[in-house]
């Protein structure tokens, strides 16, 4: 059996390469996320104060929605033409495969978040600040979302209604992350206390999702 780290790095490289060659994130998911921000902006623009106050929540709702597409894409890479059988026979560690796929989604989401952060600054007029808390909360929430999405994507990939089931299954589980990340961002942007506790909540979900995924991914591959 190939080690967890080696397996993770091979799968991370492979998934990022697949994204680079197909340009799904840049060509489809990124434009969709910008359209979402614009729609939110148009809907709330008459009341600029509401728009500024809602910026953290709108940012994380957008991230959650586009993360479902990224997770589906990640699962679809393996679903194509028997590739899952190849993975099962490869000798790669299942936990490493899960971690590699999760990290690939993390990298893609971070790129999207950078663009979205610029978007909320320009479109919603909300200046970013409290950088240490902001970056920490964003990192932990992104790992939680990517791990839960990767797990959910694999769980639903073999099902006929998998594409619609994924958000139904995963989004409710990510409500604590949406809440925690939004509150941490609000605290960071307004300089209020209490933001680190919310960031910690995102961290707890991230650890739980990573442990659950690493422990169950081999069985999920076999069941798929």
């Amino acid at each position: 059996m190939i080690s967890v780290l080696r397996s993770a790095s091979l799968v991370l490289r492979k998934d990022l390469l697949a994204e680079w060659r197909s340009r799904v994130v840049v060509g489809q998911i990124l434009p969709f996320s910008i359209v979402l921000l614009l729609v939110f902006g148009f809907a709330l623009d008459p009341d600029r104060q509401v728009l500024e106050a809602a910026t953290p929540g709108l940012f994380w709702i957008t991230v959650l929605l586009v993360s479902m597409i990224a997770a589906q894409r990640s699962a679809a890479i393996e679903a194509g033409d028997g590739a899952t059988d190849g993975l099962r026979l490869s000798g790669l560690d299942p936990a490493g495969i899960f971690i590699g796929k999760t990290l690939a989604v993390v990298v893609q989401l971070v790129l999207l978040e950078v663009v979205l952060a610029l978007g909320v600054t320009v479109l919603f007029g909300r200046e970013l600040g409290g950088w240490l808390l902001l970056v920490t909360a964003t990192g932990l929430a992104t790992i939680a979302i990517a791990a839960a999405g990767t797990l959910g994507g694999t769980l639903t990939q073999g099902l006929a209604a998998g594409q619609t089931l994924l958000p139904v299954l995963v989004l409710p589980a990510l409500v604590p992350v949406l809440l925690g990340a939004t509150q941490a961002w609000e605290a960071a942007l307004s300089g209020q206390d209490g933001g680190w506790g919310w960031a910690g909540m995102c961290g707890v979900v991230a650890v739980l999702a990573l442990l659950l995924g690493a422990a169950s991914y081999g069985s999920l591959l076999d069941e798929g």
Partner: protein, 212 residues
């Protein structure tokens, strides 16, 4: 005397609620090429997937390469190479990307991507082409290269000649023969009996999930 590479005793595998293999007894010795024949739905592909550790055994006994399939599937999987109906390639990656990934996944001792492509004489210009742009025959050649680069001890080939031109069929037979000469074993499912008989040392017929 060497232990059989594949040893099945009253092996039962379910497909849904119905038995795809219904108490199959089979032994395959080291260095043999065994043709598995039978009508559609007889359980031939299920047999290969069972031997690869991809389909669970419901009851009976199954040992592959000295490992009990029910207890030690993870030990068997890296030792076998399965060429199924699907290509098992990543559509968005190039041929070279695919071979590099599978070569590194196989660990030390695997063939390099260039060596694997040479085996099936895949044109060098195709190395940088995404798999989704390949023809069915080109994909099949690449799939065979992926199986070969892992240097499996047990080759499980499901309709291996399908979609290949005459030259590629000869190349495939040569690759399998070379592997067997080097100590590997092969099980071949095929409906092209003339060609498969020429490759195989003996044949086994499966009907209704049982050997006849």
């Amino acid at each position: 005397m060497e232990a059989p590479v594949v040893e099945l005793e009253q092996a039962v595998v379910l497909a849904g609620r119905f038995p795809a293999l219904a108490g199959l007894d089979l032994e395959v010795g080291q260095g043999e090429v065994v043709l598995v024949r039978g009508p559609n739905g007889a359980g031939k592909s299920t047999l290969l997937r069972l031997c690869a550790g991809l389909t669970p055994l419901k009851s009976g006994k199954a040992r592959v390469l000295g490992h009990d399939l029910a207890a030690d599937t993870a030990a068997v999987r890296p030792l076998v190479g399965l060429l199924g109906h699907a290509s098992a390639l990543y559509e968005d990656l190039t041929v070279e990307d695919n071979l590099t990934f599978w070569s590194r996944s196989a660990g030390p001792g695997a063939l390099s991507p260039a060596e694997a492509l040479e085996l099936m004489q895949v044109e060098p210009r195709l190395a940088t082409v995404e798999v989704r742009r390949l023809s069915a025959g080109q994909r099949r050649r690449v799939s065979i290269s992926v199986v070969a680069l892992r240097r499996p001890r047990l080759w499980l080939l499901d309709e291996p000649h399908a979609g290949l031109d005459a030259q590629a069929r000869d190349l495939l037979d040569g690759v399998v023969r070379s592997a067997v000469d080097a100590g590997a074993t092969a099980m071949v499912v095929s409906h092209e009996l003339d060609r498969a008989h020429a490759l195989a040392d003996r044949s086994v017929a499966i009907v209704g999930g049982m050997a006849r």
